[in-house]
Symmetry: C2
Subunit: 496 residues, 2 copies
């Protein structure tokens, strides 16, 4: 009985275990499916995001193919026997050079290759010299002399990387200098034919570098200078759009929002944020651009640093615009009367500023001194002056007396003229007043941009645009900012 | 005779040549001296500049010595025979790793070493796999398969470097992946003992990496996280100083400038520019900081990204301050009466904002929830509200009627009360009004910073400061901003 009982229990247990096994197995399989599906989903999302990055800027795909081509070309050192017999295992250095040195823009690639070649050569000579001295000093002293020289030179070279002027241009070269010097003078202790080895390495590095430069410059080159140029002109347009959009939204009210969907106008309004955040990119691009040879319309000594200055003055203007937009979005709503009074002149100031900024973008884009710029700046300044004199006569709008200043303007002549005095608290007009005041400040900062662009046009010898002047002069001076295209930069002149 | 004549001429010529030689020699020597002196002068200037860079931050000297120490330590692979017998020429990779990977902050070093180790190992495995497949395919197909795989993988990996999330963390790892994979699968065609070679290389790279981490973390470590922490708190202080300084200079007038020299106060006033330009540094530091282990008061998962957010809200506040300073420096000077009227409340708002910002800096510095912060924020808001109601009653200051709002304030009770109405143009008050309006906007933006700092204190589990509260509560709430130290951050609490 006892045994039968035991057996029954055992059978029961087995069934249970098998059942457990079954559930366990199912759970494991389920979990694995879930994990796989989760990973696959993540991977899909990632691939989609990556694809979007590439589709937004197809030059990124081209860059990747260029890296592949340069690597394949340099790998011939291994695959093609005559070449491999020439350099042997040192072919590795050519491959390494291509991988490490090939950058997105031609300027960055050239900067790195030149740095690498110079750093390697200089350190190679110095290392062989130190090795020669050390080897004369006898077996005992050789590692000491080599070790101490590596310690001192590496420390000094590392320190020089902290100096801003060297860091901007030769950071990579100094790193390679330390690397090569250490390798040559340390491994000199063990390697017999140091001179031959160093020679091969320098040769393969130079070959790899030259290959990088050729592929980078010949196949659809991406110039750092041109990128900087596009960035700055694009930012100018964005700033103009933001400024225009902000003024129109505030003073234009419902009319403006009907014309464009909210999303589009919000995107335009916030374009100035790109201006605020592009400092680092501008500086990097300007540093790389000066390594580039003449390309397109840019000659070798194009004043790239001036674009950084233009960028700085744009940011100063954008931060004022940021404050303006902040004030507009604050709780202190302005009285509609006051807003209506200021509306036409404020919109004129905003539109004129935007026109000037767009004209600056066009000037840089065409690399011709603009014939319209002076007129536009004058218009902007006179609009600002009008705004000032409107403000100057403003309390009289609320409490209107008979005043000589009134005669200069017509838009304020209203039936209020003979009405009793109306008093409104300052708080109701503070927003409009602040907007007006910031607009005047923005005009001053736009003039800074104008100055910087004019300096650029002098430094880069922009030619005046003669044809346009004679043909369009009469019509240009009559263009009122309100007639101009709201959102897009003025492109008509580009077709000339 | 003819001969004598010839001789005389020859002698004459010789003397002339000797004279010419003499002048030429003198000129050359002079030139060389001038060039040498010029170079020496330049070198002197350069060394002086470099020395200043180091003296300003002695940790830079220490970093250089650390690089020297790590290099010397790793060079033992060559100098110590048992070690060299173990790895042979592959010791080169340890030296290379140290030179390339050792960075200024511990976070950057760890990030690069981990990237290098992972990239090398992964690419090594994959490369050997591809080599195995290629070698099965026969002599003819081997280079084709290897070449195509290098082309495809290098292109794909290069593309992945464009994806922002990967670029921020694994940029260097992907570069090393491409490098190792290319080297392994290309050189596999020529090298016989690929597996052994790969093994040695991975080993030496790991040894070099570990040595870097040890030297970087043990000898006077420079933590990226701590640098970020110091940068953000320092920027908060600079912002507070600029704000206070700007308001005091504008409203305080001559009293303020007597207290401090122009240079000192100008430096304080322009401190906010550091805030505007530190975006890139903050982001780099935050990226490196998350690789760092727990150190000092920071644990491993300290919310470093939150500091970047705080930085962004500081920049938004700083750009408003930039607009404010621009308006103050503009031509539209305000009438003194109006300025005097607004002066005391505006200075209170400015001082309160500065106190709040300084308290935020102290909160972050001490990593304790501040007991004073709420009170200070309330004070700031009520000061802003006072400013608003002053503005609300402002036209009545010019044309004073009997108004119920007057009863809330005492400072406007003046003999004007019964005087006839005075009318002034809006232009004369526009600057003061704009300054007031921007101050109100700055208050709103300071509240953004407060929110972000409070989020940080929640994320990082800051403890409330109990002792200070019970001891200082009564006195704290009575501290008026005017009594506080003008320039320096409030450091009294730090001594607790």
């Amino acid at each position: 009985m006892a045994r039968g009982n035991d057996m029954a229990k055992e059978v029961e247990w087995r069934i249970k275990v098998e059942e457990d096994d079954d559930t366990l197995q199912k759970t494991i399989v389920g979990c694995m499916w879930a994990v796989t599906a989760g990973l696959a989903l993540k991977l899909c999302k990632f691939v989609k995001k990556a694809w979007e990055v590439g589709v937004n800027d197809p030059r990124k795909f081209i860059h990747c193919l260029k890296v592949g081509i340069a690597l394949s070309a340099v790998s011939l050192f291994y695959y093609w026997k005559p070449l491999y017999d020439g350099v042997g295992g040192n072919a590795m250095w050519a491959v390494m050079t291509v991988v490490v040195v090939f950058e997105y823009t031609a300027g960055a690639t050239i900067c790195k290759t030149v740095n690498r070649m110079c750093g390697t050569s200089l350190a190679g000579f110095l290392g062989i010299g130190v090795h020669w001295v050390a080897s004369r000093a006898g077996e005992q002293w050789e590692p000491v002399i080599a070790g101490v020289s590596v310690f001192l030179l590496a420390s000094a070279a590392t320190f020089s990387r902290f100096i801003p002027s060297l860091k901007a241009r030769f950071d990579y070269g100094i790193l390679i200098f330390i690397l090569t010097f250490s390798l040559v003078s340390i491994s000199g202790y063990r390697v017999d034919e140091l001179l031959v080895m160093a020679q091969y390495r320098v040769c393969t590095i130079i070959i790899g570098s030259i290959m990088c430069i050729i592929v980078s410059v010949i196949i659809r080159p991406i110039w750092a200078g041109f990128e900087l140029f596009v960035l700055v002109t694009g930012n100018l347009d964005k700033l103009a759009n933001s400024l225009r959009c902000c003024v129109v939204q505030y003073f234009g009210g419902s009319e403006a929002s009907e014309a464009e969907s909210d999303e589009v106008s919000d995107k335009k309004l916030l374009g100035y944020k790109c201006v605020l955040s592009s400092k680092a990119t501008e500086e990097t691009m300007a540093n790389f651009a000066r390594w580039e040879p003449a390309h397109g319309r840019f000659n070798f000594r194009h004043p790239w640093r001036q674009y950084v200055k233009i960028g700085a003055s744009m940011r100063s203007c954008a931060s004022c615009l940021d404050a303006l937009i902040g004030c507009i979005n604050s709780d202190n709503q302005a009285s509609d009367d006051m807003k209506k009074n200021m509306s036409s002149i404020s919109m004129k100031v905003g539109a004129n500023c935007a026109s000037v900024i767009r004209e600056l973008a066009t000037t840089i884009r065409k690399m011709k001194k603009s014939s319209k710029l002076d007129i536009l700046v004058t218009q902007m300044n006179s609009a600002a002056q009008e705004l000032r004199s409107l403000l100057n006569s403003c309390p009289y709008l609320v409490n209107p007396p008979h005043n000589s200043k009134r005669s200069t303007r017509t838009e304020t002549a209203s039936p209020d003229d003979l009405a009793p005095k109306i008093e409104i608290p300052l708080m109701e007009i503070i927003q409009v007043v602040t907007v007006a005041s910031l607009l005047i400040e923005i005009v001053a900062r736009v003039e800074d941009i104008v100055e910087n662009v004019e300096e650029l046009s002098d430094l880069a010898n922009f030619q005046p645009e003669m044809n346009v002047k004679s043909k369009q002069h009469t019509s240009d001076s009559k263009v009122s900012p309100d007639q101009q295209n709201d959102g897009e930069p003025v492109r008509t002149l580009q077709m000339v």
